[in-house]
């Protein structure tokens, strides 16, 4: 029985009994004690490991809303606007002009076998043309990369793709193509833009390959490697429709239970709607699936989606809706059926997380939970409103009163804050979005998330966004909703662990909990809050074993 003492430059435990310490003692993959080195040396047989001496240790970060597919896009070439670090640690500088996109694709093309195989398209992702002044990426640009290899560039919005002439020739997209969302030039020829899923599906093989590659084991490993690189030790796969299938369980066990996989993953089941009978069967299957859980892999919770997204104008908003006059958004579940859909899961004692971007969707979810608690009272259920982007103070008071939690999408302020102010909800409501300050002040258990792959995985960026509320053009959006570094870091550790019902095991540096750490090269409490997202991450400790960032 070995006990290892890790002294560190500073340690923030987020455990109220002992908020700071000089060292942690680890035994059997768990924290045995924290304290001064002298105190810890009194433990029988304890030895010192000085390898973390120069680092700041905080609890391993907990991401309570991301998706296992987040690792899947890295099979393909990144050409987004922002700098982004790949799972292997490579830093991909942002492509801020069309010329840079072309250069990036040329480099990728040079790595592919020649002659070009029409069945092996060059796929790229993340293109974010909103900051390309006036220019639009079209086939002509991509033809400068290759005239023989099909090229498919998936835009960050997920609603658009640009393809080259070789792809259009292979897939038969031409002047005769009579499909909405295939814009044409003055001669009637398609320009290479494919708008919305129907048009994108015309890209056939390339379109299918993007999604097929998401389902590979390599994509799951990438997911873990990005966790390691960002100091994250607990991940979620928030919504997997197949998670109760034997084959899917086996696939996840093979990767996530592997000793070298550097994170824990809580997999939420996303049920298909059905009759009360089939929903009850699903609830039973989710409950039974808990038996397949391990220290690293958890099954047994449920995720549902109630509305769409604000930037896609598909979230359901209370009056006054979208400021640009767009019609109100879409229901993914019929509002009147939400209570019936949730009932079997609530009755089975399961934890329910529901995606509600708009405030009207929140109303529907809260009404359903209130109704269910009237029928079947439960304590400490921790049903959680996910995204919570436009949630108002009256709703936060209800969330608290109903014993629910909120997980807010803080990264939105940085990635879409300017667009929200300009066109979705206007400057006033944009400044109220993801109102972490209000949630905390009204006593709501809070977490914050990246929703990777929607925004990049990384708790420090999420915390930075909530602390500073800066937009990409440098405006502070809603300064009254800013929270402190301490509050933000608690939300992405113990706050997130609480919503996953894992706060007895992870989320703080406390005796008994798993020895999961984010190992940082600077103290996040010592840096300028504006630099919180730049604190370098050395890596993580998971269950006592260190994993160095790529």
């Amino acid at each position: 029985m070995t006990t290892t003492i890790h002294p560190a430059a500073s340690i923030h435990t987020f455990d109220p009994s002992r908020p700071t310490a000089d060292a942690v003692a680890v035994r059997n993959g768990r924290f045995l004690a924290v304290g001064s080195v002298d105190e810890l040396l009194r433990i029988d047989g304890a030895t010192i490991d000085g390898s973390l001496e120069r680092f700041t240790l905080i609890p391993g970060l907990v991401e309570a809303h991301c998706h296992a597919m987040a690792g899947g896009m890295w099979h393909h070439t990144y050409c987004g606007y922002y700098d982004r670090r790949g799972p292997d640690g490579t830093m991909w500088p942002g492509c801020t002009t069309i010329a840079e996109v072309i250069d990036r694709l040329r480099d990728a093309e040079a790595d592919l076998p020649t002659p070009a195989d029409p069945d092996d398209p060059l796929l790229a992702w993340g293109l974010d043309p909103i900051y390309f002044t006036g220019e639009r990426l079209v086939a002509e640009h991509l033809d400068r990369v290759s005239t023989t290899r099909p090229i498919f560039v998936f835009h960050a919005s997920g609603h658009l793709a640009t393809v080259n002439t070789a792809l259009m020739a292979t897939e038969g997209i031409n002047a005769d193509t009579d499909v909405d969302g295939v814009p044409k030039d003055g001669h009637g020829d398609p320009i290479g833009e494919l708008q919305e899923p129907v048009a994108m599906a015309l890209a056939g093989r390339a379109f299918r390959k993007i999604f097929a590659d998401i389902k590979t084991d390599e994509s799951l490993w990438n997911f873990g490697n990005e966790a390691r690189n960002t100091g994250t030790t607990t991940l979620t796969d928030l919504g997997n429709q197949q998670s109760t299938d034997v084959a899917e369980v086996a696939r996840y066990q093979q990767v996530f239970d592997h000793d070298d996989f550097p994170a824990r993953v809580s997999v939420f089941h996303m049920p298909a709607p059905g009759t009360p009978d089939t929903l009850a069967e699903t609830a039973a299957a989710v409950t039974a699936n808990r038996d397949n859980s391990s220290d690293k892999l958890r099954f047994g919770h449920v995720k549902l989606i109630i509305d769409g997204s604000i930037q896609g104008y598909t979230a359901r908003l209370r009056w006054p809706g979208y400021v640009n006059g767009a019609p109100n958004g879409l229901w993914l579940l019929p509002p009147e059926q939400v209570i019936d859909v949730l009932r079997p899961y609530h009755r089975a004692g399961l934890l329910i997380h529901a995606h509600c971007n708009g405030d009207e969707a929140v109303d529907v979810f809260l009404d359903a939970v209130e109704g269910l608690l009237g029928e079947t009272p439960r304590v400490d259920h921790r049903h959680t409103v996910q995204h919570c982007q436009l949630t108002t103070p009256d709703q936060y008071r209800r969330i608290a009163a109903l014993g629910m939690c909120a997980n807010v999408f803080s990264n939105h302020t940085w990635y879409w804050g300017d667009q929200h102010a300009a066109s979705t909800v206007g400057p006033d409501r944009a400044g109220r979005m993801n109102s972490a300050r209000t949630a905390l002040d009204l006593g709501v258990p809070l977490s914050m998330h990246s929703d990777a792959p929607i925004t990049p995985l990384g708790g420090l960026h999420v915390a930075w966004a909530a602390v500073n509320r800066l937009t990409a053009t440098g405006n502070v959006l809603g300064p009254n909703e800013r929270i402190s570094v301490d509050e933000a870091l608690r939300a992405i550790t113990v706050g997130a662990a609480h919503q996953l019902k894992m706060d007895d095991e992870v989320g703080s540096i406390s005796p008994h909990k798993f020895a999961d750490l984010a190992i940082l090269e600077a103290d996040p409490f010592a840096v300028d809050p504006m630099e919180l997202r730049d604190v370098p991450v050395w890596g993580t400790m998971l269950g006592g074993r260190t994993f160095q960032a790529g």
Partner: protein, 320 residues
Amino acid sequence: MQAHGSANSPSPRLPLTVVGGYLGAGKTTLLNALLSDPQGQRIAILVNDFGEVDIDGRLLEASSEDPHSGKPLAGDILTLANGCICCSMVDGFAETLETVRGFADRIDRVVVEVSGVGDPRQVARWGQLPGFTPDGVIVLVDPLSIRARASDRYVGETVVRQVAGADLVVISRTDLADEDLLVETETWLATTTGAMVVRSPVPAAVLLGPPLRIDHVATDNDDARSTPPDHVSIVRHLDAPVSRASVEAWMATRPLGVARAKGLVRIDDRPDDRSVLQVCGSSATVTVDGPWDGGDAVVVAIALPGTPRAGLVKWLGLLR
């Protein structure tokens, strides 16, 4: 029996009809009615709510290796007793349509049931993919609840959007609604949608129109064989290409009462191609579905009971 000289090679494009309407409006009931009287057409039913396929158990093929006993799980493809197939889509529309395209030699058309909060007009866009052709958006309206739904705080816009996007609105539960309510519903619909409005029960030939494979329909210049009683139907054979202008005039001047029309014709500016004319309720489209392969061109129309035949004859006569 095959029509002499008609363009009778199988269409390379499967017509895709979308059936929408709010929760409980009667979508599945209508599909079941279609499946029990499929007009000689082999129909693939797709259910687009990621949910249970609620097809009448009697229509399911009794098969020992089918463990589902009428309660299939999402993602399954089932064979129905009349040779149709049924499939609920879990992997997304693109993949499901890819699968269905693989059955193209075994089916004549695709009918999609959209979820109660889905937008059937949006779903219909999938019919533009290669291998398919959009063939109508039919929206069910329950007269007992539609007005309350349309002003509901949460689903009002959703319901109005469904109705507004329809080509053909079918009022269900006509057995439970009195005449006043039906008229009131029709009046409201007239201000809400440009779609043609009909009361259930609606014959399958009106819902689906005449089959694209012209060998299934009439061989003479008179009534189509599958015309439901009371409805008026008319067929016209054309031996020469028609002008683009006449097609446009034909589409723009439909007589009241025309619920469905379909034609396989040659148009003068694309004489080597087979152009498909389609009318479903308020919408009329012309698409090209492949090279012309000889034979007569033909147009078939079905109109509601009481529609004057002379007007229809004159209308088809516009094509020249």
